[in-house]
Structure formats: C-alpha cells, structure tokens
Symmetry: C3
Subunit: 343 residues, 3 copies
C-alpha cells in the first residue's frame, strides 16, 4: 500500500490530475482497474480505454499525457516507470534469514548469516553463499560453487561444482548451470570418447536465468554470461559461449559451443546460433532464425519463414527445390533473346 | 486381469469370433501377442499380421472387422477403444492416501485426507490440495497454489505461488508452472529492468502437461490453459498466453507472450508462435513452422522445409538469396518480348 | 599429478623434445599454459601460438609434430589423446560408497554395496542399483527401474518406473527418462483421450544424456537408446523412437514418435525429425533442419536457412511466396519465344 506521491517518486514521474495523498493498493489493467488501483498505458492501442477507466491513476508517457482524460502518472519512459512501481506490489521481496531444518549443508560451506536456505537444499563442500542470498526449496549448490550477494534461486536450481554467480542473479526453477559441455572425440570404430570438461561457468551481476535453461561448463576455459544478461526459459548455452553484457535472449534459443554474442544484443525465440562465430554488439535476430556465420555489423537479421496455408506452402516448397532449374531456364531465355538481336 | 466381456463393455465394442469369458492378462503388439493377451490394429499397414497373430483378440474398426481372420473386439473408434482398454492395464492408477514422513507441509496448507503427498515434497503456506490428488516425489507447491481434485503430479513438478490447477490435471516430471514471464523494460544505458510479473497461471480440468514444459505466470492478468488441453514435453508457454480448450501441442512448441490459441487446435513439434496474435479454432500447424500473424480461418498451415542432400541444399539456399534478381531479370525479359511486338 | 611418461602411455603417444619424468599438474590452453601444465593443439588455427607457449608439452598430431617449436606429445588422434589425458585431471571420478542419511530407499530395492546414493534421493520399490553406481543429490529412481554398473546420475535425474539403464551411463541434471509418451485418441466432441503408455525405456551402455533432456516411455514396446549414443541438452525423444549405436545428437534436437535413427549418425542442434520414418546409418543432418521422410543413403542433409539483414530477408521471403507465379511467367515466356520460331 503506497501513495501516488511515493509512486511518482519511485517512477521519477509527475502527477497530473490526481492527488499525491491518494492511496494505491494494487495494479490492474486499464479495463479492469477500480478506484484505489493503478494502471498503465504503454501502447497506443489501449488509448480508447482511458476515458472509461476507473483506475485512480494511469502511468503513461509525456506524449500520451496531452489531452489525457484520466488521472495520470506522467513518465518519460512509462515501461521503466511501471517496472519500478510494480516492484512495490511484488509479493516475494524479503529474505527472512535462516536455514531450513531440512537443508543439508556441508560443514565446510560458508553461508552468510542473513541468507535463506530453503527446504531440501543441498550445499556441498566449500561452497560460498553470499549475503542476502535466497535459496528456495530443492536447490543444489555444488562443491566450491559461489553465489554473490542478494542472488535468488527461486526453487530447484542446480549449480554444478565451481560455478560462480555474481550479485543479484535471479534463477528460475529447473535451471541447470555448469552441466558438462558436449565434448566428444571420435575414436576407432566410430565410437565417441567423452572429453572431460574442466572449465566452469561465470555468471555476472544482475543476470536473470529462465526456467529449465541450461548453461554448460567450459571445456577448459569458462563459459561466461556477462552482467545484466537476461535469459528466458529453455535456453541452451553450450560450452565456452560468451554472452555480452545486457543482451536479452527469448525462450528456446540455442547457442552452440564457443559462439560469442556481443553486448546489447536481442535474440528472438527459438533462434539458433552455430558455434565458433562472433556476433558484434547491438545485433537483433528475429525469431526462429539461424545464424551460421559471424555478424560484424549491428542491425536486425532474419531467416524465419512464416506459415502459409498448407496447400500453398507445398507448392512453394516444391518450387523452391527447383530453383536451380529456374535460374538455368532463365539464362537460356536471356541468351536466346540476345541472339535474336533484340535489345 | 479382465475378461473380454468386460473389455467390450469398457470399449463400447462388440465381440466377433471370441468368447466374453476369455481372460486377458495384458496388451501386446500384433506380432508379439500370445494367447491371453489383447492386441489392436489402428492402421491398415498392420493388416498382414492379422492372420498370424496369437492374440486372444484384436481391437479394430468396423471396416477392418469384415473378413477378419483374427478374433476381434470391434469398435467404431478403435483408437479410443484401445485407450480405454489399455487404462485397465495401466499400473499406476491408485492413490494410496497419506503424507510421506519426509514431506514438508506448511501448517496453513490444506491437504485433503485422501490425497497422497510423496517423499520430499514441499507444500507452502495456504496451498490447497484437493481430494484424491497424487504428488509424487520432490514436488514443490508454492504459497496459495491450488490443485484440483484427482490431479496427479508425477514427480518433481514445480507449482509457483498462486498457480491454480483444475481437476484431473496430469503433470510430468520437470514441469514448471508459474515461473516469471519474461518481462523487461529498456532503461538508460541499454540496461534491462525486470518488470515484476504479478499475474498467475490458471490451468483447467483434464489438462496434461509434459516433462520439462514451462508455463509462465502473467504480467498482470493470468496465463490460461483451458480444459482438456494436452501439452507434450519441453513446451514453452510465455506470459499471458491463452490456449483454447482441447488443443494439443506436440513437443518443443514455443509460444510467445500474449498469443491466443483457439480451441481444438493442433500444433506440430517445434512450432513457434509469435506474440500478440490470435489463432482461431480448428487450426493445425505442421512441425517446425513459424506463425507470425493472426490466423483467422480454420485449416492447416505450414512453413517447414524438409531436408535435401547438403550439396543440393547449398545450391537452393544460394539461389534463394538471389530471388530478387530473378524476378527483375524476368521482368526485363518480359518487357523485351513485348517490345518485340511478338505475342 | 602425473608425469609426461604416464601421459604418453595413457594417450598412446610418443614424446618429442621433452622428458618422460616431467611432472604435469594440469591442463591449460596454449596461450595461457605455464610450465608444469600440458596443452594441446587440435586445429591449425592455433599453430601461431606454439612458438610462444610456456606449456611443458603440447598434445598434437603427427603432421603438426613436424618442425614443431614446442615440446610435444605426438598422437595419431590428438583429440582422443587429449580426452584420455584430460580424464586424469577430471576432479569427480571416484565413487565413495554409501547411502546418505537423507536418501529414502524402499526396503525392496536392491542397492550394490559399493554404490553411492546421495542426499534426498528417492529409490522406489524393487529398483535395482548396480555396482559402482553414483546417484548425486535429488535423484528419483522409480519402481522396478534398473541402473547398470558404474552409471552416474549427476543430480536431479528422474528415472520413471521400469526404465533400464545399461552400464557406464552418464545422465546430467534435469534429465527425465521414462515420462509418458504423448499418446492421444480423438474422442467425440473433439476431446482427447489419453492412451496409457505401457512400454518402457531401454538405455544401452556408455550412453550420455544431457541436462533437461527428456526420453519418453513407449506406448507398448520400448523406446530404445542403443550403446554409445551421446545426447546433448534439452533433447526430446518421443515414445517408441530407436536411436542407433554411437549416434551423437546436439542440443535441442526433437524426435517424434516411432522414428528410427541409424548407427553412427550425427544430428546438429535444433534438428527436427518427424515420426514413423527411418534414417539409415551414417547420416548427418545439419543444424535446425527438418527431416520429414526416411533417409536411405548415408551422407549429409540440410534444410536450415541462414540469416540475412532483415530488409533483404523480407524481400526474399516475399519473393518466395510468389515462386509459383515466377514459374508460370517463365513458362509463358518460353512458349512465346518458341512460337517466334527463334532458336
């Protein structure tokens, strides 16, 4: 429960048409908000809802504040303002220090006194758990792993041995950090021999790691996720990948070994990145595209193909396979026309 | 152990060439079945096996029952009949009520007396576990989460806070329901600010959720999976998605935020659905296709491309990138031919 | 800590320019190695680093040993040699026998006396755990499941009931083996009826299963992973798939039901394999390709499309959809030219 005045301060915003003393008890969408609730408008498609909303105030941009029929919290960046304000209503912020009686902690592990270790967590030898860390139920922290201050492992996160997390890292259920990279040597008889993965994983500060995302340890040097990187769910990061600071990767992205992603990149859902290449800073790749070579220029890159009705797609697909023939037939025609003497 | 008569009743089928009193001890494929076992034929490719089968009876369709050399259990829909009959031989049906001594249950949680809570489960404050629910080993049920009657969480399922499951929901190991949606606001300096996800997940009745599938909580309103939806393994459902009743999604499908899938849809393996679009009822999308715009007509849609030998594919791929040139060269030729005056 | 002589023996290699008595304490990349460390060169791009390396010796091929400026461990297959040698420095090799006090083991389960069962493991009725097996924290072994000798489940692996693992299987955190196959029958009203999955999963010897990989049990017969198969992370193997011996599958591959992959195949990251088809031995499929029909000839197959700058891709994509029109316009032109009488 906060006042509009406190909200405006948190959001670095100004109030328009509403009172700083008004109490706000929660957040709701424009069409559902009731008095005492705060709403937001971050896309013009919702403008028609403004006149009817019952929200006590609406977070919106400076442009949208002009001729605004609703009481407003006016911010230069309404999305950021909303993020800051919504955090006031986020239920799970506090870490109540302590160690659940069912947590199993090796005597040699170091656990900060104000950390929380939840039910059935396992913390192995020489692990280091920093100040204010929250380990939800069923987390496993491997030997010599380190977790930086105020990091939060929601539940069921696996940190394999020697993995290092920075400060304020947030990892969601099912994430696995430090599993073996997929290293194989082809031996006689076509059998695969496992190449031991002697490296580790280094995660920076303010990184978010989605549910069931997997980040492999390096073959010899480390796999590195730099500060501020945001990884959605079910992302696969192979050994010796480096992801540059503040890059954001949507769900189901797969990155093969030793690929290097620059800073401030954005990868859409299901994107595949081949190994041993480098993507420069500021690159965006749209959903379900495949990157097979280094990208040296910032910008947006694509190779996804959107659906057509099945019958049409079958024709397109069949024609695609005859593209070579098409080029040859065209070349023959061009030759014929030039032989005719016509221009 | 059941008789053919009981099987016929369960399957809504009639017997042909066999005795209702015959005892059946199990199910086996046509070519392996022995006397005392039941088999089935749901595809004409297996017809040649009928004459030699030693099965005591074979479930098949009315059409296939004509001139059938084997004893038959004749059903209008043999697949459904088989499903009902096989359930008689399914080993894990019963819920033996109780709470394993190692389960950790918050005193404020409500657990129905005939539910089973297995080893190392964690049930948090104010959670509600309904009648006949089965929680296998290592499940985590978050604060205020609710599980409807006769639902079954096989093992290691994570329900985050406030998630609501309907009745007879079946969730497989590693499923995560209610992890944070991937909400980010771009702040100064290109840093990402997390947008708290204040919504929840609402799962209907008779929903099946595959192994390691992830379903994110909504940003403000809920992510909704309607009654009878069937989700295979490793599916990613982003925040604020709604999946319509009785839709079936094969493995590794990824659905981006705020997409809406209609009722009775079928999505093939690896399909990607972009965000903020709507797919009407009765749509089928074939494997590994990408949907980027709303689909307003029922039917089948595709954009997957099947492999060719690598050399040929490299040519096709190279030609594809020169398609624009092809169109231009063709247009030039067409203009030349028309200037020639020839028809 | 080993000597170069012992290393040469393990690697089936000969020493060149270095002393068998030299003590090696670890492995490092060429540009970082210090005296007392071993390095390796498995790709010509690293040759320039050889003259400056401070490594006590470098594993390399017979070809690269010619005119080699660094002390060398010369092997016919340096990758295999490196794999064997790195295993000497791999930290987690020993299994210290015992059962953690928090492991919950059904009295009817059989556990070899030299196995290790870690914290919070659950071993259900009639399970069989073979000699030298290692179960890390939080593993779940279902009823009647069997684990062959010297297998290692790193942590949090789920083996569902009746699953059978061979010898020396290595499974990484989050792997799920034996979840229900996705079997559904379409019933009246468009509702889906679950088809019970009565089969199991059979995993051979020396199989490696990556983090969060899922392998479903068969509908009636088993899903089979043959000896020596290597599965990376987040792979989905549907019911009744058979993967032939010594095949290697990179991350995020999805294989639909009843597909059969031959021996010594290699599938790149994100490859999709449709159901009910057969891929012969020795087939390679490049990343993010889709296989929809049986492949009867060894070789390499592709259908992935690599990114272009977004603007160019939009043109290519738009042209692609008009391919049919292109063929027709070309055919019209060809007809016109032939009518002209010109050759």
């Amino acid at each position: 429960m906060v006042t509009l005045g406190e909200i405006a301060a948190v959001a670095s915003a100004r109030l328009q048409g509403c009172d700083a003393a008004t109490v706000i008890i929660g957040v709701a969408p424009l069409h559902r908000a009731e008095p005492g609730q705060l709403s937001f408008m971050t896309h013009p498609r919702y403008r028609p809802f403004l006149s009817d909303t019952q929200a006590s105030a609406v977070i919106l941009s400076t442009e949208d504040a002009v001729d605004c029929p609703a009481p407003a919290v006016v911010a230069a960046n309404p999305q950021v303002a909303y993020a800051r304000v919504a955090a006031l209503f986020e239920p799970l912020c506090q870490v109540r220090p302590g160690i659940h009686p069912t947590a199993w902690i090796d005597p040699s592990a170091q656990v900060a006194p104000d950390a929380w270790i939840g039910p059935y967590c396992v913390v192995e030898a020489d692990a280091v758990i920093g100040a204010g860390v929250y380990l939800g139920p069923h987390c496993v922290v491997g030997e010599r792993a380190e977790i930086g201050t105020h990091s939060r492992l929601v539940a069921r996160v696996t940190l394999c041995h020697r993995v290092r997390l920075g400060q304020r890292v947030l990892a969601h259920p099912g994430a696995v950090i430090g599993s073996d990279g997929f290293g194989l040597a082809l031996d006689t008889g076509g059998r695969w021999l496992k190449i031991p993965q002697l490296g580790s994983v280094l995660i920076g500060d303010d990184v978010e790691i989605g549910a069931n995302t997997t980040i492999d340890r390096g073959a010899l040097e480390d796999t590195v996720i730099e500060d501020g990187v945001k990884l959605d769910n079910q992302i696969q990061v192979a050994h010796n990948v480096r992801i540059g600071a503040h890059s954001a990767l949507a769900g189901c992205v797969g990155i093969a070994g030793s690929a290097r992603i620059g800073r401030h990149c954005m990868l859409g859902g299901g994107v595949g990145i081949a190994g041993h290449l480098e993507i420069t800073d500021g690159v965006q790749v749209t959903g379900m595209s495949l990157v097979t070579q280094s990208i040296t220029e910032p910008g947006t890159y694509s190779s996804g193909l959107a659906v057509e009705p099945n019958r049409l797609w079958n024709k397109i697909s069949a024609r695609l396979r005859r593209l070579d023939e098409l080029f040859r037939r065209l070349a023959i025609l061009e030759k014929k026309i030039n032989q005719d003497g016509s221009i």
